[in-house]
Symmetry: C2
Subunit: 261 residues, 2 copies
């Protein structure tokens, strides 16, 4: 883990500061949706750290509140991180402004409403409001979504810098989760249509027939900062009406973003 | 900061691992609602670190995604922390289950709906859905609320361990934000009433006349894990009807918690 050229000392103590931080972050990265609670042994294994080192670092994270421990001694992500994460300008600030609009949409469509931002070459699901009677969700808040095979992802991709779009189109394009190969030509045409119509409509057959309709959230200056989407089961859909509702809500969010910018 | 008995070495490098982690965490703690973006100098000052050390640690946090940098080089909390925080079992897991119920309530009352958990001696606002036409909010997601002078806080306090309640009642009790002294006897009576009636109704005159109605979210086994509350302006309120709506939504959340427990 030492950087090239950094002085390396051998011993039980980590040789210098930064790798220690990386190790502490590795402890946080050891948790995922299927591992929300981890005993020390699992935590150290998943973080790739010796147990003694994991225990020492987890203790500091626990002391600060980044980790919590239950009565059985298992670690989990702590509330303090939720507090800190609430300060992320991209993401939390956006979702606070978006939530009332999402709530209105959710009340109207009784299905899923998603807010997604681009994080490098994936979409990050910032938030989802789902009706009690909605389809089983494909993605959960904090999950990463493929850009080229989700409605919100397509909107973000269509408005990403050209160079980035070219790189994506040149890569392997598989429809997730079925992993069906996609044609770059067809995708290029889809992206152009999304830019023209300011809305993406994506039909999926897997896991059930459903339609996603997504629209861009635009900040002052015209940059697309997020995508708002709804996911509804196929037979119930009037996509034109749904497109209108999603576009209106996305415009509402853009407007309050503008007021707060 | 060195642990008793730990070998201490002097030099430019931090002597051992743990303080480095504390310093990295101090960088995260340097951000707050009024300081979502910080240049390196402000960041190092607010974290109480030398600039060189702050730069080195911020670089590691940036590399991992816990911090982001804008085009002007200013740091902010990164999306990666939002991803990790989404794994906190208390908090995020809870809010995912609660959000549809909160959304329904918000659609019905057109004001604020809050979800709060106890974090030590304060309440932590996990989430808030607010109507476009709601009063200016007193608290934002990630904020800490006083337990003894908010509706949700009173519910959490009323169901906290007895020893904890005694300690709070023995302390200085000021009505926030006016800082009017509260009587411990009156508060004890209020808490007993909340336990009996399973709902808290709190009237405030500051900053405007408003009513908060809050109800407990209960997990399997009977522990109160959160409080759900609504905040509405005074003249519009039928508190009995509102109490019924909040209690019903809180029971709904408790029920799905049970299904997922």
């Amino acid at each position: 883990m030492a950087e090239p050229g950094a002085p390396v000392t051998r011993g039980k103590r980590p040789p210098k500061g930064e790798p220690v931080v990386d190790r502490a972050l590795a402890l946080l990265a050891a948790f995922d949706r299927d591992h929300r609670q981890l005993g020390l042994l699992d935590l150290s294994r998943r973080a790739g750290l010796p147990k003694s080192s994991a225990a020492r670092l987890a203790d500091r994270l626990h002391h600060w509140g980044a980790l919590e421990r239950d009565e059985r001694g298992r670690y989990s992500i702590g509330l303090r991180l939720l507090e800190v994460a609430a300060l992320a300008p991209r993401g939390q600030g956006l979702r606070e402004l978006a939530l009332p609009f999402m709530s209105d949409l959710a009340a109207a469509i009784h299905q899923h409403v998603l807010l997604v931002v681009r994080d490098g070459d994936v979409g990050l699901l910032i938030d989802r409001i789902s009706s009690h009677r909605a389809l089983a969700p494909l993605y959960n808040p904090g999950d990463r979504l493929p850009l080229h095979s989700t409605g919100a992802g397509l909107v973000l991709l269509a408005h990403a810098p050209e160079q980035f779009q070219r790189a994506v189109l040149a890569g392997d394009l598989l429809q997730e989760p079925e992993r069906i190969p996609l044609s770059a030509t067809a995708l290029r045409r889809t992206l152009a249509a999304i830019r023209r119509e300011r809305v993406a409509v994506l039909r999926r057959t897997h896991p059930v027939p459903l339609v996603t309709v997504a629209a861009p959230v635009v900040e002052r200056g015209g940059d697309v900062v997020a995508a708002l989407s709804v996911v509804v089961p196929e037979p119930t859909v009037d996509t034109r009406r749904l497109g209108g509702a999603v576009t209106t809500a996305a415009r509402g969010i853009s407007r309050v973003l503008d007021d707060h910018g």
